[in-house]
């Protein structure tokens, strides 16, 4: 055992001195490698944390939303649909919601306007998301003008700004009372944008949804789980898009690894020849090269992951903000809670460390299997 450990220690000594001998080359390799790990890890961490965040927020969302479709498009739904839906067994409560989009030409941003009953908002007042307040440089008690359906303007006073905790989904949100909503959009009485349902038993959701479609074939019930799946898909897609954009950097890295994989420098080959000549076995040389690859890839991996962690969870992921948070002008500002597990880190590890270590072993193995007498002939 002692012999085994000493042998490893000696070979590690050689590895370290070998790495230091090619300081510039190895340092350049670590910089590029770290950068690639940093980029990929940032996307992975970000997508995973945002999905978790969205899931947490949506946990409070209604279990079923019923929309009415006219000619395949979302239309207002009569409130008397609610009375019939309430009769379905298992439905605890049905409420109509009024909401819509408002384009503000001064900031070129779209806001989501929604009628709120809880908290109740007095006429002439609004509660706004942080993105809206930032975009309009507005503070509490400031007034915001809204252009109504007939071209006139209504000024609504900011009563409150929503909590930062909710910013991921409420950045562009404006809550107001029904009267003000109708003044802006001219919505007819007895109509709602959609209906939200509370259901007693979570397992009955699908059955209730089916019953609603049977009762009102012109409606579309949307389950909370479906929204979650859509969020997942959207963030996965955005994450994928980021990876595609970053593929230039990744391609550069592959070329670098390929270069390393297809050959050793003449100096490295000479060294391997000498070592074989003075009595090193092929396995000793492979062990050295394995450690070299492992030192470079592991240090780059950890460095890249740590930098990505700092980037995503401490610096507010400045590099990918526009791509991941939305295409809107109102980027939500929030700090993410670290949410990644063994799966994400091990995927990153297998995508970066393993291929690199393997590709560096192949040329070394080729060089290490040369006959030791080659050193006598060079």
């Amino acid at each position: 055992m002692k012999h085994f450990l000493e042998r490893h220690r000696n070979i590690l000594d050689f590895t370290v001195s070998s790495l230091l001998r090619r300081k510039a080359k190895n340092l350049a390799l670590i910089v590029v490698y770290t950068f690639v790990v940093f980029l990929v890890a940032s996307v992975v961490f970000l997508v995973s944390a945002i999905r978790r965040e969205a899931a947490l927020v949506l946990a409070k969302a209604p279990e079923i939303v019923v929309q009415r479709l006219v000619a395949g498009r979302h239309d207002y739904i009569p409130l008397d649909y609610a009375d019939s839906i309430k009769e379905i067994k298992g439905v605890q409560n049905v409420k109509g919601r009024l909401w819509g989009y408002y384009f503000d030409p001064t900031t070129s941003a779209n806001y989501t306007l929604m009628v709120s009953e809880n908290p109740a908002i007095p006429s002439g007042s609004i509660i706004v998301g942080r993105g809206v307040a930032r975009g309009l440089l507005a503070k509490e008690n400031g007034a915001i003008p809204f252009k109504t359906y007939d071209g006139s303007y209504v000024f609504l006073k900011i009563k409150e700004i929503l909590d930062a905790d909710l910013e991921i989904v409420s950045s562009d949100l404006i809550l107001l009372c029904e009267g003000d909503f109708k003044r802006i959009f001219r919505t007819l009485d007895g109509l709602a944008t959609d209906l939200v349902l509370e259901v007693r038993n979570h397992r009955e959701l699908t059955t209730i949804a089916t019953k609603i479609t049977q009762l009102f074939p012109d409606t579309r019930p949307v389950l909370r789980d479906e929204i979650l799946r859509t969020y997942d898909a959207v963030f996965d897609w955005r994450g994928g898009l980021c990876i595609v954009v970053l593929s230039g950097a990744i391609l550069g890295f592959i070329i670098l690894v390929w270069d390393k994989a297809t050959g050793l420098s003449a100096e490295e080959k000479r060294e391997i020849g000498i070592l074989k000549g003075i009595g090193w076995e092929t396995s000793d040389i492979l062990l050295t090269k394995f450690w070299e690859g492992a030192v470079i890839s592991l240090s780059s991996f950890f460095l890249g992951v740590i930098l990505a962690y700092a980037h995503v969870f401490m610096s507010g992921f400045v590099l990918f903000e526009p791509a991941i948070k939305g295409w809107s002008v109102l980027y939500p500002r929030f700090s993410l809670t670290p949410a990644f597990g063994f799966y994400q880190v091990s995927t990153l590890f297998f995508l970066t460390v393993v291929p690199y270590t393997l590709t560096t072993i192949i040329p070394s193995w080729r060089a290490a299997t040369i006959d030791p007498d080659m050193v006598m002939r060079s």
Partner: protein, 225 residues
């Protein structure tokens, strides 16, 4: 100590560029003596040294080291014999650049699993013995030809081998350094080492320390000495 029976070494066998480097060599090398393989370039000296030093296997024939047949041993065992029983001094010394003299001397012993501290002491002792102890921490590329030669000899001795093999060791040395090298050979011989040198330098094969000169030409032995 080492016996060769009808040894033949062919490079690129079966191809258009087939080359017979050694053709039916049968010779015995005595222990604790200095044997020189003499002959012009291409005579097969280096190839013969490689076979004697377990660096390569013959195409046909048998090699016995200390009475044990080694011709058909797998690479691992051959390497084990090579690093424990043979020390090599190469034509261009082949020191590893960018590392210290001390490390270069220690390298052949690294895979043996000897404690680093013990190994370091041994290497320092050898460097002192050859008068270059002060250069232990210098990088090898800063050494003169004579100093490099001494480092190469110290490296060959680190595993305390029974046989020292030197291929054209004076090829890159002036007459003074070549004579100095022969003095080191004398010292090693008096320590009981078997020394095998390939050279066509008269300073080597005419030196009084040499016990036997084997003359080679065209892959065959012309004079057994």
């Amino acid at each position: 100590m080492i016996e060769l029976h009808a040894v033949r070494k062919v490079f690129n066998a079966g191809r258009s560029n087939e080359f017979v480097a050694l053709d039916g060599i049968s010779v015995g090398i005595e222990s604790a003596r200095v044997t020189v393989l003499k002959g012009p370039s291409g005579s097969g000296k280096t190839t013969l040294l490689s076979l004697l030093g377990c660096m390569a296997r013959p195409t046909s024939g048998r090699i016995l080291f200390q009475g044990r047949e080694i011709t058909s041993l797998p690479e691992r065992f051959l390497t084990e014999i090579r690093r424990r029983s043979f020390g090599f001094i190469f034509q261009q010394f082949h020191l590893i650049k960018g590392v210290t003299v001390l490390e270069n001397v220690m390298f052949p012993a690294y895979p043996l699993g000897i404690a680093h501290r013990v190994l370091k002491q041994k290497a320092e002792g050898l460097l002192e013995m050859f008068g270059i102890g002060a250069k232990a921490q210098s990088r090898v590329e800063w050494l003169s030809g004579g100093e490099s030669q001494r480092v190469a000899i110290a490296r060959a001795l680190i595993n305390d081998p029974e046989v020292i093999i030197a291929d054209e060791p004076t090829a890159h040395l002036d007459s003074k350094l070549s004579k100095e090298l022969m003095e080191f050979v004398r010292q090693m011989r008096s320590d009981g080492k078997t020394i095998l040198v390939a050279s066509h330098d008269p300073i080597v094969f005419e030196a009084d320390v040499v016990d036997r000169v084997i003359e080679m030409r065209d892959g065959q032995i012309r004079d057994r000495g």
